[in-house]
């Protein structure tokens, strides 16, 4: 019966469906990624060197690890702009336990646990007090980083135990760094979580219509709480990697990262209003931003110019679809008038 109904649909409708699938945002991203690769290899002979490429991944893997749960959070109509501050606090706490002589795994565990606690704190404020997540995380952004400043002041911690540097500097196999492999692993995990599980389905349902989701028996607040905690955990993981890569902690670590992370997510086609987006899109956006940064590094363009490009990309990405729909509706309107 199901197939019978499908057959009754006009072939036309199916065709547009297929075309729509083909012209998805993700396909567009792939195209741009290929273009950037071609351009980069044309501009610099060093671009295609595997070790150079591998080095280039270090400038985005940590941010990308946070972009994955952030995508889910934004799909669920929430946002967390305290992630960079969570990195700072978690790194500070790791530094303090490292100074007390804790072993490698204890240090990493403290980092992740601190991240989870920060995320949970955000989640409780949002769900229990019904405060918009943007305000909550503006507040906790100051709070978390502020605690780092209280604990460290202008100190820098460098006393990490031997072996700790593996997380951010080690290689698993050939050119594949631990960071890159970890990112690939989590990309798959989050792909499965968002697109294959009930948890993922609830995320979309809540993002599109929180009230109807609640009326359908979904524990909306609990779901949001888990998402915020997840963002916290991944920020903790990112903090372990970053601290290990830099080999040092200072309170100003990862300053301004929230902007690039949110840009990655939005660039990946996740609607800032919630309800739609895919992990594949976010991963592609991450790769794209990594490649552009890398290419600019090869051309000796200063990093701050990158922030201009990121800003322009962000605005273009949200404005373009609006312009396109405006154009489409004006066309439709004309058609309707002609009838």
């Amino acid at each position: 019966m199901d197939t019978a109904i499908k057959k009754s649909a006009t072939p036309d409708a199916l065709l547009t469906g297929r075309l729509q699938k083909f012209f998805r945002w993700e396909s567009f991203l792939i195209l741009i990624v290929v273009l950037v690769c071609v351009m980069n290899s044309y501009l610099s002979p060093y671009f295609l060197d595997p070790w150079n490429l591998s080095d280039a991944t270090f400038n985005f893997t940590e941010k990308a690890l946070i972009a994955l749960p952030m995508a889910m959070l934004i799909i669920a109509k929430e946002i967390d702009i305290s992630v960079a501050a969570i990195i700072s606090l978690s790194s500070t706490l790791m530094g303090l336990v490292a100074q007390m002589g804790a072993p490698v795994y204890a240090v990493a565990f403290v980092g992740i646990l601190a991240g989870a606690a920060c995320g949970l704190f955000n989640g409780v404020l949002v769900t229990h007090f019904k405060i918009p997540s943007i305000v909550v995380t503006i507040g906790t952004m100051s709070l978390f980083r502020g605690i780092s400043y209280i604990l460290l002041g202008d100190q820098v911690v460098r006393d990490y135990p031997d072996g700790f540097e593996f997380f951010g500097q080690g290689y698993v196999y050939w050119v594949f760094s631990f960071e890159l492999v970890l990112f690939a692993f989590f990309a798959l995990v989050f792909y499965w979580l968002l697109h294959r599980t009930t948890f993922g389905r609830y995320t979309y349902a809540i993002g599109n219509n929180p009230t109807a989701s609640y009326y359908s028996g979904i524990k909306v607040d609990k779901h949001r709480l888990i998402l915020f905690t997840l963002v916290g955990v991944m920020s903790g993981v990112a903090s372990v990697l970053l601290t290990s890569r830099l080999g040092s902690t200072r309170p100003s670590i990862a300053m301004g990262w929230e902007l690039s992370i949110i840009t990655m997510v939005v660039l990946g086609g996740v609607s800032i209003l919630g309800g739609s987006g895919t992990i594949a899109g976010v991963v592609l956006a991450v790769i794209l931003m990594g490649l552009v940064t890398f290419g600019m590094g090869l051309l000796n363009i200063p990093g701050i110019v990158m922030t201009i490009i990121v800003g322009v990309m962000l605005i273009t990405v949200v404005s373009l679809p609006v312009l396109i729909t405006m154009y489409k509706t004006s066309l439709k309107r004309k058609e309707a008038k002609a009838l």
Partner: protein, 335 residues
């Protein structure tokens, strides 16, 4: 009337600020002297002006994260104009800063008005664009005090009735804002457009345009503060006012401006900014390291929004007739 003020949000907040102020005065009597009070107000002037601009934006259900970047860009721009053309008069220079600020604000506003794009994304984008543009403009170089003209640095410091011009500018902005938000249709439109956009539209208010005006004002004030900032600290560089947008939003939130729009007063906003100003000035005096400042403002934002949220909680529909009160409330009465 007085009783009503004391029980209002602004009332509670001003009592807290006063208690804090005199509390520190017990430890250090100099703190509450007239000259120090003026100096605290003067220190907080820029925050007050930016917070008032931000309030308009938040009232219309938007947010402007680009204010600090706007301050940096405009500040750098006027500083460089002053550096290369020191003969240009201060009046023109201030007009220039207003104009550039307005322009940067208008860019935000146009995207929000015409494309209906969420303001948080637009201003997140323009925040990094304006900051990056500051770098391109200056090529990363600083403009130091010796490169600025004498009047450029002296103007905000010039004292009238023992308060510097900087403080007087804030006073003028507060008075203008108070009048506009209470007695002009233009000002009331911010409340209606944010309180119930659909109903505002039905009442002939162009909500998008009101949002545009909010960004325009916020940008214009940021431009003015751009000049004031570089002049006050006698230096212009790319990272001027980095992260200051959060303090500005904090001042609004503490002052009772509701982030969901339509609620907030000029008085509350000013007291919210003064709260931060008093805390910042009091910390060194009571012997707390300035490293505490950031965490305290974070904590205060959280406490303020929790307080806001729980006071709004009683929003249930009133259906049951209250037997004893119904006669009471049916009679017109004046407080």
């Amino acid at each position: 009337m007085l009783k009503r003020f004391v029980y209002s949000r602004e009332g509670v907040l001003s009592i807290i600020v006063l208690v804090m102020f005199f509390g520190v005065g017990v430890i250090s009597p100099d703190f509450i002297s007239l000259s120090n009070s003026i100096s605290i107000f003067n220190d907080t002037s820029i925050l007050i002006m930016l917070a008032l601009g931000q309030m308009l934006v938040i009232l219309t259900r938007c947010i402007d994260l680009s204010v600090a970047a706007n301050v940096a860009f405009t500040g750098m721009f006027v500083a460089m104009v002053n550096q290369y053309f020191p003969e240009i008069s201060m009046v023109l220079l201030i007009l220039l800063s207003l104009l550039i600020g307005a322009l940067l604000g208008a860019i935000n506003g146009l995207f929000v008005w015409l494309l209906k794009v969420p303001s948080i994304v637009i201003t997140l984008g323009t925040m990094s664009i304006y900051r990056g543009a500051t770098f391109l403009l200056s090529d990363g170089a600083w403009v130091n005090s010796h490169q600025m003209s004498e009047s450029f640095i002296a103007l905000p410091r010039f004292e009238i009735l023992s308060m510097p011009v900087l403080g007087w500018m804030a006073v003028v902005v507060i008075i203008l804002a108070f009048w506009a938000m209470k007695f002009s249709v233009w000002g009331r439109n911010f409340y209606s457009a944010g309180g119930n956009p659909m109903a505002a539209f039905y009442s002939g208010v162009n909500v998008g345009k009101v949002q545009f005006y909010a960004f325009l004002v916020s940008g214009t004030l940021s431009g003015l503060c751009g000049y004031l900032w570089v002049s006050r600290f006698a230096v212009a560089y790319v990272d001027v006012a980095n992260g200051f947008e959060l303090q500005v939003i904090a001042a609004c939130v503490i002052g009772g401006v509701s982030i969901v729009g339509g609620l907030g007063t000029v008085v509350g906003c000013v007291i919210g900014a003064l709260f931060i100003g008093v805390v910042n000035n009091a910390l060194p005096i009571i012997g707390v390291s300035p490293f505490w400042q950031m965490a305290i403002s974070g904590l205060v934002i959280i406490i303020a929004v929790i307080a806001n949220a729980s006071s709004d909680k009683d929003k249930a529909r009133i259906i049951l007739r209250k037997p004893d009160k119904s006669i009471d409330s049916a009679q017109p009465q004046s407080h």
